[in-house]
Subunit: 250 residues, 2 copies
């Protein structure tokens, strides 16, 4: 049996066109890169989409935590390295290291992600026993950032920012559910531009609960408590929570 | 003087996570790749951001026309090759060829783009005489798709789809204006998901008029006339048009 690669690294260049209003790598783009690299590494070690679908299963991102000392700047190279920290019958934990200036550059952040395998018909958690060889790919490498805490909405102190809308065609991914990046957009967009101009996102946590589909109503409510800590719940406006997030700025 | 590359090609892999609801390359992503490759080629031939800014100028995308026989599918490689068709004192015309299966694969589409140089302070057209050496990079290669026609909104036949909103933090690019991709999202989102499930975008044209900024109100109105031809105007809800588009589906 050939040895499977326990790590995968990829490098990107940040063009002007790829920057946000602060001339930095946008957080939604970073999340997209994380998901792409996770997908590619899962494929490389034989536990990707094409393997899981044999059992009628698919990976779904359950939690994502991003902690950065700074975001890559315009015209910089940046790299992500991913490895698996652990897995059990129902989920796998995958970490990432972010470097600026390419794969040998300065470490500027870490990312933790938790992936759940679900049955694509029932949308219920699947049993990963059939890919127990995933255990051979678990790395000894540690991730220095804290695991994601339980995300709780603080009491609405009267200053909650609320936006509402409907999920539309470009919000939908190949699973026919709303894609992760779109949720992150909605969450970031409840904080005005000048906050991003004057502060940086030091930590971003998001946890996914229920999957939304095309045409569903969404409601995003954000409370800043304490100062520069923004907690957001994205719901259907009634009793279903699609995702919860916490953004800490400095 | 070293020879400048008259063409630039880049290849990408379409991961599952990068797909739209039809398990294809999303049109907004294709437009993003086009803009990135244009930026990189402009840098490579010495007429990029860092050169133009010496004169206080910057490139702004004015028109984009995309015509495809099909969109790249999940797990396919796809490549774009760009070249300059012509330029004068005020704008440059840049084309792209899209191949599936990588740089040697089947040609599945062409893209035309027109870029205007503007003064970044006045936002008025700039004079490109100082980079007249751009002429040496004009290619003999032709682009087989029609140039963009004048985009006109058909009379509202009573079935116009109208959405409205406000431009928010993640909609803003490094120029501090609303980014091209966000406009394309708004335009595509005025057509429901089942239309994309049952038809494909054969041609997409977009022309940019006025630049929108953070916090501005937007109104997107789409009329389908004739059947499967969708014309959209994105305005401020009053007298300013941000962009106009036409999408022909088959």
């Amino acid at each position: 049996m050939s040895k499977v690669p326990t790590e995968l690294t990829r490098t990107w260049h940040l063009t002007a066109a790829g920057c946000n209003a602060q001339s930095r790598l946008p957080l939604p783009t970073l999340a997209q890169r994380v998901i792409e690299l996770a997908t590619d590494h899962a494929n490389a070690i034989g536990v990707g989409y094409s393997r899981l679908i044999l059992d009628g299963n698919a990976w779904v991102l359950s939690r994502l935590s991003i902690e950065l000392s700074r975001f890559p700047a315009m015209h910089e190279d940046y790299s992500l390295t991913t490895w698996i920290e652990g897995f059990n019958r129902h989920f796998s934990a995958r970490n990432f290291e972010l470097r600026s200036g390419g794969a040998d550059g300065e470490v500027i952040g870490y990312i933790r992600s938790v992936w759940v395998a679900i049955n694509i018909e029932s949308r219920r958690p699947a049993d990963l026993s059939s890919i127990a060889h995933l255990a051979t790919t678990v790395s000894e490498r540690r991730c220095p950032i804290e695991p994601q805490p339980k995300l709780r909405m603080p009491a609405d102190n009267g200053s909650a920012v609320v936006t509402e809308g409907v999920f539309r065609a470009t919000d939908i991914d190949f699973n026919r559910h709303v894609n992760t990046i779109r949720y992150i957009d909605l969450i970031l967009n409840n904080t005005p531009l000048d906050v991003y101009d004057n502060h940086r996102i030091a930590r971003f946590d998001i946890a996914f609960s229920h999957e939304a589909t095309f045409g569903e109503h969404w409601r995003a409510a954000t409370v800043e408590e304490p100062a520069l800590t923004f907690s957001t719940a994205v719901t259907d406006g009634a009793d279903r929570t699609f995702c919860s997030a916490r953004m800490i700025m400095k």
